[in-house]
Amino acid sequence: MAKIDSEVGGDVTFFHTSQLDQLINLARENSLWYLLFGLACCGIELIQTGGPRADLMRFGAIPRASPRQADFMIVAGTLTYKMAERAKLLYDQMSEPKYVISMGSCANCGGLFQLAYSVCKGVDKVVPVDVYVPGCPPRPEALTEGLIRLQDKVRNERWQDKRRAPVQGTGAA
């Protein structure tokens, strides 16, 4: 299906689907809510990014405290092993479609704390990451750029592909 869609593209049915997808994606990319997940230093820059000067809310990104309502998670800061399991849990609790922005060197690869015995070397060891924002810590502008990249990604994908496969036998609708 996807193959036909990407190669032919002229089929009427798919044409309509993609028009609808465009509209859905237009809504989705403009309403990406993020999970409040400040781990360390980057968490302060995350607050600053939500603050008056950078103001993530311009893009429709508002912070949510509960993972259920969040569209993406900004992993802002050093992820220790102790926290890594919790991060995984939080990611699992989010509802599809969901994304992850890894903010800062520590979340990208362990960063400054490569030498540490208790730090997870990158959040992508635990959850899949969509956008990496480099910096230690990244400036608010960099995080905003990360959000814009995420919007690009959302714009260019089909909503159906992002749905969670239904779990068999649990009765979940």
Binding site: L36, C41, Q48, P52, K82, A116, S118, P137
Partner: protein
């Protein structure tokens, strides 16, 4: 896990166990509280920390003496100047390096700006935890200007790495003095506005006054430091009582909790001490800028590959979260044998378990916020 942590708690079936954190809007970073409640009233809140334990003390043993400086930033990321200064001071004590007067002044200026920035975040998040969102963003707005100033000074917004063993990294840039003085004029007005906006708000006062009272005796016994200690009525400030750096040159008052709206040592006292402290810091910066002596900013002959004779030293600086002590042990090599940071938040967390019984859930949030804990200071 819960069983282990609640070993000290007598349980019957009336209580509910809540996992308060580590991802919770009001735990200020990643701290977990295992909370036992009876309805809205707490039986006990047991902190479970270590979610941000980044092995900084171990890393200090493998990096060189100079190389550890960037890591000190991450010990207290909200006010990174203080661990910079604390570590530098400890090594200077151990090696006998004399810091030039101008560098000491610059340290004082940068530290006091960082203190203001830190308190802005602290008070802002506190008001947010109490439910008022706007003061937080006003605080962030002012903090952005401080960030700009510090960025002009040292090139970083958050993790400054400005102080060096033997002095500071950069001298003042052109026009910085005037910019800072102009900001301070604005900031003093902002403080008045902030007080009007939130400090004297009736609901706010009632939420904080007489809540989670920590007596002076308890505060000393549990090793609280800084604004938390002063909020409990103990008149102690390292800057004044054991002066270091340039602080004996400045005139400033030390705000002490006196039961501004309730009992001495309640959440409001801790809150308001910080408010007053920002004003004092602004005074210090102004004095330091106006009296700033000319001269070098680095001590001469600080070797790049520093070797330190065997010995040990403890330095004390008054950080935004109270006395921060760095304990360094040298064994004659070019690496530290042991680096230890004693931080204010660590002991502040220790008191929560004994201060929490009988509070309500909303009060626990106020207590945590009023102690102004920062996760990496606890875990390092």
């Amino acid at each position: 896990m819960e069983k282990l942590i609640l070993r000290r708690v007598d349980r019957n079936n009336e209580e509910m166990i809540l996992n308060f954190g580590p991802q919770h809007p009001s735990t200020h970073g990643v701290i977990n509280f295992i909370v036992e409640t009876d309805g809205e009233v707490l039986r006990k809140a047991v902190p479970d920390v270590g979610y941000l334990h980044r092995s900084i003390e171990k890393i200090g043993e493998v990096t060189g003496w100079h190389g550890f400086m960037p890591f000190t930033d991450r010990i207290d990321y909200v006010a990174a100047m203080f661990p910079n200064e604390g570590y530098a001071t400890a090594v200077e004590r151990l090696t006998g390096i004399e810091v030039p007067r101008r560098a000491q002044y610059l340290r004082a200026i940068s530290c006091e700006l960082a203190r203001i920035a830190s308190h802005l975040v602290s008070l802002g998040t506190m008001s947010m935890d109490i439910g008022a969102f706007t003061p937080m963003l006003h605080g962030i707005r002012e903090r952005e200007t401080i960030n700009d100033l510090i960025e002009a000074l040292c090139g970083a917004r958050l993790t400054y790495n400005y102080h060096r063993i033997g002095g500071v990294a950069f001298d003042l840039p052109e026009g910085w003095k005037e910019r800072t003085l102009a900001f301070l004029d604005h900031f003093d007005k902002f403080l008045v506005e902030f007080d009007r906006l939130i400090s004297f708000n009736e609901i706010y006062v009632r939420r904080l006054a007489n809540v989670a009272v920590i007596t002076g005796k308890d505060a000393v016994d549990y090793g609280l430091v800084g604004p938390n200690l002063r909020g409990s009525g103990v008149d102690w400030d390292v800057r004044r009582d054991l002066p270091y750096g340039a602080y004996d040159d400045f005139e400033f008052a030390v705000p002490v909790g006196q039961g501004f709206k309730g009992t001495v040592g309640d959440c409001y006292d801790r809150y308001y001490c910080r408010c007053l402290e920002m004003g004092e810091s602004s005074k210090i910066v102004r004095q330091a800028l106006l009296q700033l002596p000319e001269g070098e900013i680095m001590a001469p002959k600080v070797a790049r590959n520093l070797k330190v004779e065997a010995g040990e030293a403890l330095s004390r600086v008054e950080s935004a979260r109270g006395e921060m002590a760095f304990y360094v042990v040298a064994d004659g090599t070019n690496k530290a044998y042991r680096v230890r940071a004693r931080t204010g938040s660590f002991t502040a967390m220790g008191i929560i378990e004994s201060a929490s019984p009988g509070l309500m859930i909303a009060d626990l949030v106020a207590l945590i916020a009023s102690l102004d804990v920062v996760a990496p200071e606890i875990d390092r």
